[in-house]
């Protein structure tokens, strides 16, 4: 196993001779995307005319199907099949694993007469057209025996249990220290259910060749999807060819396979022709995962000088009764501020609602909404600037583990952001600044998000024309993965970007874990870099061992790669010439990355600081953004443009989190109140004015050979809290219940006599 020390030596990426690393290169597939010619899974042209599936979903939260009347649907025009739990083709049992090494177990559709949540798939129609399938779906009549369901989270908080295998973390003596603290905050914050609402719903196009199935599907993890389908169909995974080339947003919601994949594969086999299945927008809300709600109690005890003496964050969250998931809203706080006496932990309530799961920055995203407001509240009580309060609690080493930080530039983020945003303009007293009907205020929050490196492989081919093609079972969910992999490969091999192709999203390619947890670029990118290095060595050997090469006989470790050439001193030839002559059929190599054994000896995170300015309409309680600025420190940046898009996208999500974005369960039905984008409100262009972000110079040589870190989730962490703090500064209304919709703000304004 490697050590982080191996990564300290200079390499082509850290030397960045041609300047491609960090350059704001346009998106590799940008033209295809904006011209609508990047086919999404549902749009892939299958080898024969397809049939179309439509799912029918449950309208109760818990119970049993007593009868399904399918006759009218079966007789509906164009219908090829109507499946229920009674006649669906055989599948493996849920959770079963034929191959113990499968990353995901079987996940059968229509498995039984049990309904475990509202919106569960209970029937499936296959027809010659989508319209006919949909029309027939409306004709299926289902009778249920409903059972009492637990669907009201706030009414079930006392049902919370420790998540499996977890304990609270106690350090020092929190209760005693809190009681002895001079200044305290003890408040409870609520972060609601959020839905991913990716632009592209989950969808699959499937067809069979003999006993092998090809599926184009929208999923973030190639291997996970391939294994899940193989296990569900009870076939070896090499008989599932999974392709996911372009993905219209994932955000964690496509980290797993859903019924579209299973049913498309089953149906294509049953009717012997390709099948397309997609979730409708409305079905996405219930049928795929959501971010669960979290209630968080934060207790801060400080000395009069602002130093934290006691710190606690206790989170209660929920998941589906039979699908364990914990939104670890307290975890981030274990690495953020110094305090000798600490308590953090989680409780999990099991409910009869759709499955909770990972959504962009799981843990941090809701978690920071609590602590970063509590810090604002504490700062006010102490009469300290909120930035100063954070600086006073900046730890020298990880506050829980005592491990050294790999790099920690939180202080620098705070200083730089304060300067650039103009934090000095802020009046610390709330409700003092008025602009017409608007009360204006500013708020800030810190950001922290973990950094990870997972094992991954990649393949690289060079052909006689000199073109390098990187292949990897990785995904690009809209983040820029194609682009940064091209940059890494080009910089490593010293070729112009135009000489590099990238092919992703195919289970036949060398595997990478996929997109998630902001580990994608570091993981896939490091594998691409290592593979590039293998290619360099291979080409160096090829040239120095070929009597026809000008480099013949040279020491292969001394050759260099630049401008599309391989060279030693003034002996040089192009890569194209070398390959065309010495190995005209091309050269293919594979490489891999794995985490360093000693990487966990360091506390390794990405950091940032958010600054927000809002206006609050004093009559109506409407909140509008006026300005937002973020400063981030996340290792070496691979592409200024795509990285900025990631963090500003996260900040925009924070705006939605603070102001509009939420779902609730209607306790009468167990269903979500919002089931489309007309009611589930994400920010629109008009909401986002004057929003920008910068990155600090950084390289983290403990992270991976390139010194890069993840940026995909950092931007959202803390962003909503900065907006909430700005609302307070604007009008003096402290809301702890996200999102801060006009009705809540207005209630607060009225309570203050405004």
């Amino acid at each position: 196993m490697s050590s982080v020390k191996d990564w300290a030596a200079p390499n082509p990426i850290t030397e960045n001779r041609s300047g491609l690393i960090g350059k704001s290169v346009d998106r590799y597939e940008g033209r295809l995307k904006v011209t609508g010619t990047a086919p999404y899974a549902y749009e892939v042209e299958p080898p024969a005319p397809p049939a179309y599936g439509q799912m029918v979903t449950a309208t109760i939260a818990r119970g049993r199907i007593t009868h399904i009347e399918t006759q009218a649907a079966e007789q509906s025009p164009g219908v090829l099949a109507v499946w229920t739990h009674l006649n669906v083709p055989p599948q493996a049992r849920r959770g079963e694993r034929l191959n113990p090494r499968s990353q995901r177990p079987a996940n059968p559709a229509l498995a039984s007469d049990r309904v475990e949540f509202y919106g569960q798939t209970v029937a499936f129609i296959l027809a010659d057209t989508l319209e006919n399938a949909r029309a027939a779906a409306e004709k299926v009549e289902i009778t249920y025996a409903a059972e009492t369901a637990v669907v009201d989270f706030l009414a079930s908080l006392d049902q919370g249990e420790l998540p499996p295998g977890e304990e609270d973390v106690h350090i020092g003596d929190f209760p005693k220290a809190f009681a002895a603290s001079q200044v305290t905050v003890d408040e409870t914050y609520f972060s609601p259910i959020q839905n991913h609402v990716q632009m592209e719903p989950c969808a699959t196009t499937a067809w069979w060749d003999g006993d092998k199935v090809t599926v184009h599907t929208s999923i973030q993890m190639v291997k996970g999807g391939q294994h899940a389908l193989a296990e569900t169909l009870a076939i070896p995974s090499d008989r599932v060819h999974l392709i996911t080339r372009y993905i219209g947003g994932g955000f964690g919601g496509k980290g797993q396979a859903y019924d579209d994949l299973t049913l498309a594969a089953l149906a294509a086999r049953a009717v012997g022709r390709p099948v397309k299945v997609a979730y409708t927008r409305q079905q996405m809300f219930h049928g795929t995962i959501h971010r669960p709600a979290v209630q968080m109690r934060v207790r801060l005890g400080a000395n009069a000088d602002g130093r934290l003496n006691a710190f606690a964050l206790e989170a209660i969250t929920h998941c589906a009764r039979h699908a364990t998931f914990t939104e670890h809203a307290a975890n981030f706080s274990r690495n953020l501020y110094a305090a000798p006496n600490r308590l953090t932990g989680h409780r999990l309530v099991r409910m009869d609602i759709p499955h909770a799961g990972a959504m962009r920055a799981p843990g941090e995203a809701p978690g920071m909404l609590s602590l970063e407001c509590a810090m604002d509240e504490l700062a006010e009580k102490l009469g300290l600037d909120p930035i100063e309060l954070r600086l006073r609690n900046e730890p020298d080493v990880d506050p829980e583990t005592g491990k050294p930080f790999s790099v920690r530039q939180l202080e620098q983020c705070l200083h730089e952001g304060s300067q650039r945003f103009g934090w000095s303009r802020r009046n610390p007293k709330p409700g003092q600044v008025r602009d017409g009907r608007w009360l204006v205020g500013m708020g800030m929050a810190a950001a922290i998000r973990g950094n990870f490196l997972l094992p991954a492989k990649a393949g690289l081919r060079i052909t006689a024309d000199g073109v390098l093609t990187l292949t990897q079972g990785m995904t690009d969910i809209g983040t820029g993965t194609y682009t940064i992999l091209a940059q890494i490969t080009a910089e490593t091999l010293g070729v112009p970007l135009e000489q590099v192709r990238v092919e992703l999203g195919d289970s036949d390619m060398p595997p990478a874990p996929g997109s998630g947890g902001q580990f994608g670029a570091a993981t896939a990118g490091s594998a691409a870099y290592e593979t590039g290095m293998v290619m360099r060595r291979t080409l160096a050997d090829l040239a120095t061992g070929d009597p026809r090469s000008p480099l013949y006989g040279a020491d292969p470790t001394l050759v260099s790669f630049a401008n599309g050439n391989i060279a030693l001193d003034n002996q040089t030839e192009t890569l194209a010439a070398l390959v065309a002559r010495s190995q005209p059929e091309g050269v293919y190599v594979e490489g891999s990355i794995s985490p360093a054994a000693d990487a966990r000896d360091y506390s390794q995170h990405t950091y940032g600081a958010h600054f927000a300015e809002v206006g609050v309409d004093v009559v109506t309680g409407e909140v509008r953004m006026r300005k937002m600025f973020g400063v981030f420190a996340a290792g070496r940046i691979l592409n200024g443009k795509t990285a900025r898009s990631q963090v500003t996208g996260g900040m925009i999500w924070g705006v939605g989190t603070a102001l509009t974005e939420a779902n609730t369960i209607d306790p009468r039905f167990g269903s979500f109140a919002n089931q489309d984008l007309g009611t589930y409100l994400v920010p629109v262009h008009a909401d986002i004015v004057d929003l920008d972000a910068i990155f600090l110079d950084e390289a983290d040589d403990k992270a991976n050979p390139m010194g890069i870190k993840g940026v995909g989730e950092l931007g959202i962490c803390g962003a909503g809290a900065a907006v909430a703090n700005a609302i307070y500064n604007a009008c003096g209304v402290r809301l702890r219940d996200y999102p801060m919709t006009p009705d809540k703000v207005l209630e607060g304004l009225m309570a203050k006599g405004l």
């Binding site: 009559v619 109140a673 919002n674 489309d676 409100l681 629109v684 008009a686 006009p742 009705d743």
Partner: protein, 317 residues
């Protein structure tokens, strides 16, 4: 979606004949509301008569000194028209506060008036809704929805009308003109077009199913300030939590009832010398609050007061 047939009308008379003679036929204008509802099988017409290309898309000066908007004028076309911008700013503000640029390019004046409620239970076909399925019950009652009506609601239905434009049109005292299968036309105030739910929320307007709106006529604007203000959770592309139109002393509230709600009590209070605050209080004293929606009542009261101040309508506090 239920299968249906489609025809593009060649002239006004044959469009009306086609709808009146085909059972289950409907007019199709921009389609931005009707087609969405058809996809969810909330609307299930058997035949669509596309009237969007009929020669009803002009904006002309009327004999009375006002403006005549053809029924098929597009929302964006009306909002961009120089005469409308100069003389009916409240209408422009109302239109541009609705939907998105793309929707306004497609949506027509008549279609906008005839759009159906955005009550989320009306859209969720798995839930009871008296408007969608008479007699099935009203799921919005008891849902604590801020979208519920506070004026003119009934036990059967507490939905609101979603049109922003219609609120301004009522404040501007606009009239619609229609044509019927027998060739007769009639004129009707926009204020009288929509029905309150009563016991039959499925019947939404005073128009017969085959009655075609041909134009909306704006009288010359009455003297006095005009303003349309919409309160909403995000800055664009969302229905209002409440809205107010003021034009020439007429006060109309939006998103509070199943029709644009003329604030007659407030108007009368102002006329008898009450202050703006008193007038707003008087109007909202009439509001019903079946779902403890007190926040909405307070919002509308404050909003109305603020808009009166801003337009300098009536006497200050």
């Amino acid at each position: 979606m239920k299968p249906f047939t489609y025809e593009r009308a060649s002239d006004v008379a044959s469009a009306i004949q086609a709808v009146s003679q085909t059972p289950g036929a409907r007019y199709l204008a921009g389609g931005t509301n009707l087609l969405d509802l058809m996809k969810l099988e909330i609307e299930t017409p058997t035949h669509l008569v596309d009237v969007s290309r009929l020669p009803l898309a002009t904006i002309e000066a009327s004999a009375e000194g006002g403006v005549r908007l053809g029924a098929m004028t597009r929302n964006s076309q009306v909002a961009a028209h120089p005469d409308i911008r100069a003389r009916y700013p409240a209408l422009v503000q109302a239109i541009v506060s609705g939907g998105s640029g793309q929707l306004r390019n497609k949506a027509t004046t008549a279609g906008n008036l005839m759009q159906r409620t955005r009550c989320s239970f009306f859209y969720d076909t798995a839930k009871p809704c008296n408007k969608r399925q008479p007699g099935s019950g009203c799921s919005a009652l008891g849902s604590l929805s801020r979208a519920n009506a506070i004026f003119g609601a009934s036990e059967a239905c507490v939905a609101t009308h979603p049109s922003d434009m219609a609120v301004a049109l009522v404040a501007l005292d606009a009239q619609i003109e229609t044509l019927r299968p027998d060739g007769t036309s009639r004129s009707l105030a926009v204020a009288d077009l929509h029905r309150l739910p009563g016991t039959s929320p499925e019947t939404e307007s005073e128009l017969a199913a085959d009655e075609l709106i041909t134009s909306v006529n704006l009288p010359p604007p009455a003297p006095g300030g005009q303003l349309y203000r919409k309160v909403r959770a995000r800055a664009s592309y969302v229905g209002g939590l409440a809205s107010v139109a003021v034009a020439g002393g007429r006060l109309v509230l939006g998103a509070v009832a199943l029709k644009p709600w003329r604030a007659e009590t407030a108007e009368a209070a102002l006329a008898s010398g009450a202050s703006r605050t008193e007038a707003a209080m008087a109007e909202l004293a009439q509001a019903q609050d079946p779902d403890q929606n007190a926040g909405k009542i307070a919002l509308v009261r404050r909003l109305l007061g603020a808009v009166l101040d801003e337009t300098n309508t009536g006497r200050g506090a």
